[in-house]
Every structure is written in structure tokens, then in C-alpha cells.
Subunit: 397 residues, 2 copies
């Protein structure tokens, strides 16, 4: 991240022939004399006018940022990830359905900007807005913002300022979903104490990797279930390096030898918490490993299968089954409580205690005509794109 | 309940020819002069030496009560119900497995006395035992006592004295399972407030009927699901008289009109708690009626089907799924806390706020040779016996 990237840009920059660098230098000089220079107000946004398959309905919409109002903020996006929830939202299967906007973004038919997570910098602040200043880094205060665009107008309550000197743009752009999900599930369920066990499936997912690292930091032990694969040893090695206590594959998981192995690992300790993002039979199997009175949290259903629970797990084993959705958590908790968590996570990232997840960084030069295809392609790959090279993160320039 | 029933009886009473009444009068006189008269110590117990179908393995075992020890109590059973859990225990499918006793009950092969719930009176108290006196009514302190017998030796901690002037023997003998289950589920889950809704299936079960009445007393509204049946109107009438707010059948339950009807009933209120003793598809359907953040408690699985949960109910609707088992509650809470509940329930029964459940009373004259067949028959009918005429309760004499 260079300081150049957080400078405001003019619409003329994409029309003129001057090289970007000379333009920036010119603008740096301009800023010394005036703060009312004309800013870039041409917005490129990726979204949809109706729900459907990303490949069929996502498109570019261009509009002009409205003039800055006293109670508003203008922000420029620096990076945003392609999250599974974004794809479900585009498909219309996600419960958070952002509005289809018309006059706010100059669309006659109603256009919904895709994307929920991202990092932006503040490019202009209305006169009535305090505690936010030009150049600040911000993440979204909640879900449904519409982050897949170059610029946006928003209210101060829609964004959260974060320090920009302690994490990378990629870490900041992917801060509010996966790390926060892992953080809250470990903090809020099962009353974990040092030495307790957590068992999780999808251990190689964004949340799974964060869970391994946070658990390690907080003194919990993890049993991590991953799908069998050709390069299994590399993956196991990677998870152990991050802090996994044990790793088993889904094919090993149901076997008697694995059951005995896990029993040995556990010893007299308790498996107090199960984290499930898979569903189906494997998720039922995992629930059986929990110690009596344990808590089991479902935060995804990658198998698209429901969770089936024998009554005995509920009645006699006294397991408690919950769900976790980070968007709801953000809605139902104070901004200060959320910031406390974000800051804690960023401090751990800064200290190197949490590694950022593997990402495939995709540059989007919003000044280039037709450049939006990189975002459309990434969205088309969607969830699949993740498992190959890591989460896809679009870097805007 | 006459006072005669709580008098001790002698072994000789079943061997002699004197009419019971004259015998009792003779003993009444004897008691004026001595408290060390020989008591009846011939025990008839119904139980098993191995798990299996009640009709195949239940049998009578006769033994002699051991001599009273200083730290022990002798009790005589007055009544016990045939509960579904008793049958499951005999079949070996229940997690609480009482020990197969040998020398304590004069059995060479190991014999397990059936039954978990019942009402007994104290017939003798060891010298070191305080706070329990002859003639007291007692219920069991926990599960696994072995209540299907005429007499028993026990420790003070195995029993709970209850007042005998405020409830009937039937009410006392069926106090610790069904009423306590309903009581605790309403108290401990969902943080109910006046006007809130509870939805339950198996509403005509022992727990279901108690739930209706306790909810009514505490100001909660109930939506009650029952199985369709020929005499439906009678049943509905019965439930409404007990205090049910609404009653629907399982066949009406999935229909769009019922969905709309329940929505109307609910209005702006919340269905905060679901109580499930059925399982299977109908139980999943019921979960969908819960308001967001609701709690759903499974305490039975009459359909013998597991509970299948779409991930959306967990993740997005934030429903919490628990189990309830009254035996565990008793084990994990203090005797005084349990007594507080028992007393509260008995006071409501005494005030006529809770009607005792419908029961089929079956007398067992333990003095008669071959009389144990009434218990064996009742156990063979088991759970089925319940739904026809009400819960089967054995009254001992």
C-alpha cells in the first residue's frame, strides 16, 4: 500500500493523457492550496437489477457521486473480497437483501450494488460530520453496503474508521467477516477455558484458519476436520504451522480408529465446542464427539444438507445447537463493542499472531474501459474460486 | 387415602386368617405400647435380570427387607406410574441403567427392580436419621430407584419428604417427572414473559397437559399440536378447558391456511419457545413457526425420528435447540431447589390450578399370590396403555 493510493483522483484523470504519476504529483501540489478541488465523482459499480446466477445478471453500472451533503461522507474503495455470502445474495438466497436503488445512483430500473465487505478510504467529509477525516481507512459497519464499486456516498454510521498503520489493505478488506466470525464463536459459546478442545469441520476455510490461530493464541486445543485431497500432507503441515492441535480428514472421521484416536487426544479434557460450516451426515457425526453439555455452532452449510440430530444428543447428552451469523451480531451489538473486537484482531495481526488468509489478489483498474470484467470473472468463479488459490480479493486502482 | 393405608403391616398379616381390619386394630393397640413390633419385611418387586421386551423378561422377585440400619430408612410404596422411560429402561435403551442387585435383595443372578417414579410412606427410620419420620410421604430424589415394589430400604438422600395433606396419592406418585418437566422447560428456556407464545406438539401427553396449565397460570399463550383422531372435538374441548389458547392437528399443521391462522393468532407477539416430544418432519415444521432468536426444546421422540434442521433456522433465524431431561436436572441441582419446585407444583394442584392428569388406576394387592400380573400387564401395554385411558398408575394395597 503506497500513500499514492489514498489520494483523491479526478474524473479528468481517466480522460486525459497525462501519466498517472504526473497527475498525482500535480494534485499533491493542488492540495496544498485548496481543499475544494473538483474530485473524481464518476462511480463504477458492479451489481444487478434482478436476482440470478452471477454470470448471467451481474453488470457494470456507472453513475456520478452526488454532491457532498453536510451529513455525508464520500469514500473510495481500495479492496474488497468475493465472499460466499455475496454470491448467495446475488442469487437471491441470502436473507439480507439490500435495496435496489434508483435516483441515489442514477438508475431508472433499480440497481443493487453487490458486495458486503471491503476497505475504503475517506475522500471527502461533510461539514456536520465529526470524528471522520479525509484519508481515514474505513470498513463497513454492517452487511449490505454494496462494496463492489469505486466510490460511494454514505452516512457516518455506515462505516467504521480503523487505524491504517497496523494492517495490510488485504487484512483490512477481509477483517469484518471471517476473523470476526471465528472470534465471536470462540468467545461467545461453550465458555471455553485454557486446555479445552474445539472441534471444527471446514478447517481450511477462511473462518477455519482464523479459528485455529485464535484458539492457539487463547490456549484452546483444536481438532480440525478437512476434506481428503491429493496434497493432504501439505495442507496438514500448513494447519499445524498455524497452530492446529490435530488434523483429521472427513474420510478418516467416521472410522473406529479415528474415534479411538480422538478419545486418546482428548484424555480427561472436554470437547466443549463444535463449529460446523458443512452440514449433512458429517456434521451429525462431528456432533457425537462433543462432550456432554457441549455447544455446537453452525455458521455455514457447504454441503447444502440440513443438520440431522438424534434426540439422544439433545435429551441425554444435553448438547446445545446454535447458529452464528456475523451480520446479526454486528446489528445487535454496539459499534464500540464491535470496534473493540476489530482492534483486538488487528493488534494480533500486527503482532504476527494471526496470519492473513491466502488470497488471490486481482487488480481492477477502474479507469480502464472494460476493466470490470475482472470482477465479473471473479464473481463467476465465486465460491469455487476460493478453494483453488485462496479467497479472491479485488484491489482497486 | 385412608389412614389405614399408612399403617405398618406384619408379614403374618398375609399368612394369618384374621380379617385385615381386626389386624389393623390389634396393631394400633400394639403401637401404643411398643415401637419395636415386627414389621412386614416381605418384599414383592417387579424387575428383570436382563434387558428385553417387558412381556418377555419382567418377573416377580420376592425377598426380605434387611434389618433396619441406623443410617437407613424403610419405605412402603403406595403408588407408582408406568412411564415411557421405565419401559425404555427395561428394554435397555435408556441411558440411566440402575444396577443389577444381588445380596441387597437376596438375588443370586442380579436383579434390577423396574420403575423410577412413585409415592411411598416411611415405615421405619434408623436411629441416625433426622428430619424423616415414620408416616412421612416421600417421592424419589432422582431416577433409577426401582419403585415397582412393595417395600424398599434406602438412604435419606434417596428420598424427598413431601407434605401429605395437600395432594392426592396419584398426584404425588406422578409429581416428579411430567409436571417437573413442563415446569422447568417453561421456566428455564426462552425467558418467557406474560403474553408470549409457546408452541408444543404432543400437547395431549402428560407433559403437554401440564404445559398448558402452567402456561395459563403464568400468563403465557399456547399453540398446541395434537394428532388427528376421531374424537377430536372432545379432545380440543378438554385442552381448551385446561387453558389451551389454540389447538391445531398435525394434519392441519403444514397447510397454508394454518400458517396464516397462526400468524394472525400471533399478531405482534413472539413465539419464543417450542417444546418437542415427537421428532421427525412435524418437529422440523414446528420449529419454523418460532420467532427469530427462539428456543426449541426436545424432551422426547415419540416418532423415533431424529430432528432435521435446515441451516437457515440456525444461522439466519438464530434459533437455539436444546434437550431437556428431568433426571439430569435433578442430578445437577440442589435438593432444596428441587423441593421449591415440587412445593410450588403441589400448591398449584392443591389450589385446583393444575388438574392431575387422566390416569387409569390399577390396584395391586401385594398380599395376594399371583397379583403381580396386574403390573406385568400394565408394563406390557406400556406406552400404548397411556394413550387409551390415560397414564397407568399402580395403587398398592
Amino acid at each position: 500500500m503506497t500513500s499514492l493510493r489514498i489520494l483523491p483522483r479526478l474524473v479528468s484523470s481517466r480522460q486525459g493523457n497525462a501519466p498517472a504519476h504526473s497527475f498525482v504529483n500535480a494534485r499533491l501540489s493542488a492540495r496544498l492550496f485548496s481543499t475544494t478541488v473538483k474530485r473524481d465523482t464518476a462511480v463504477k459499480a458492479i451489481g444487478y437489477t434482478q436476482y440470478g446466477k452471477p454470470s448471467e445478471i451481474l453488470r457494470l453500472h456507472e453513475y456520478t457521486l452526488p454532491e457532498l451533503k453536510a451529513n455525508k461522507v464520500h469514500i473510495r474503495f481500495l479492496a474488497f473480497p468475493i465472499n460466499p455470502a455475496d454470491i448467495n445474495q446475488i442469487e437471491g438466497t441470502y436473507p439480507t437483501k439490500p435495496p435496489f436503488l434508483t435516483k441515489e445512483i442514477g438508475s431508472s430500473e433499480g440497481f443493487c450494488v453487490a458486495g458486503n465487505e471491503g476497505l475504503a478510504e475517506v475522500v471527502a467529509v461533510g461539514n456536520d460530520v465529526s470524528n471522520i477525516k479525509k484519508g481515514d481507512w474505513v470498513v463497513m459497519a454492517g452487511a449490505g453496503f454494496g462494496t463492489w464499486r469505486s466510490f460511494a456516498e454514505c452516512s457516518p454510521c455506515d462505516i467504521q474508521v480503523i487505524p491504517k498503520d497496523i494492517v495490510s489493505p488485504i487484512q483490512a478488506a477481509t477483517l469484518t467477516v471471517n476473523p470476526c466470525t471465528a472470534y465471536r464463536m470462540l468467545k461467545d459459546f461453550g465458555r471455553l477455558e485454557e486446555g479445552d478442545f474445539v472441534i471444527q469441520n471446514g478447517a481450511n476455510s477462511g473462518v477455519g484458519l482464523m479459528t485455529i490461530q485464535l484458539a492457539k493464541k487463547w490456549g484452546y486445543r483444536t481438532i480440525n476436520v478437512v476434506r481428503d485431497r491429493p496434497n493432504l500432507d501439505d495442507l496438514k503441515d500448513h494447519l499445524y504451522k498455524l497452530g492446529a492441535t490435530h488434523v483429521v480428514t472427513d474420510t478418516e472421521f467416521g472410522k473406529q480408529t479415528t474415534k479411538e484416536q480422538i478419545k486418546k487426544w482428548k484424555g480427561d479434557s472436554k470437547i466443549k465446542l463444535g463449529l460446523n460450516c458443512v452440514g449433512g451426515k458429517a456434521a451429525t457425526e462431528m456432533a457425537k464427539y462433543l462432550s456432554p453439555n457441549g455447544h455446537y455452532v453452525t455458521y455455514g452449510a457447504m454441503s447444502k444438507q440440513p443438520l440431522t440430530l438424534p434426540a439422544s444428543l439433545l435429551i441425554f447428552k444435553n448438547l446445545h445447537f446454535h447458529g452464528f451469523w456475523v451480520s446479526r451480531w454486528a446489528e445487535t451489538h454496539s459499534k464500540s463493542m464491535r470496534y473493540e473486537m476489530l482492534k483486538d484482531i488487528m493488534d494480533m495481526m500486527h503482532a504476527g499472531e494471526i496470519k492473513e488468509m491466502e488470497t488471490e489478489c486481482i487488480p481492477w483498474d477502474t479507469k480502464q474501459a472494460g476493466s470490470e470484467s475482472v470482477v465479473l470473472n471473479a464473481a463467476e468463479k465465486g465460491i469455487t474460486g476460493y478453494s483453488s488459490k485462496g479467497k479472491q480479493v479485488i484491489l482497486l486502482k
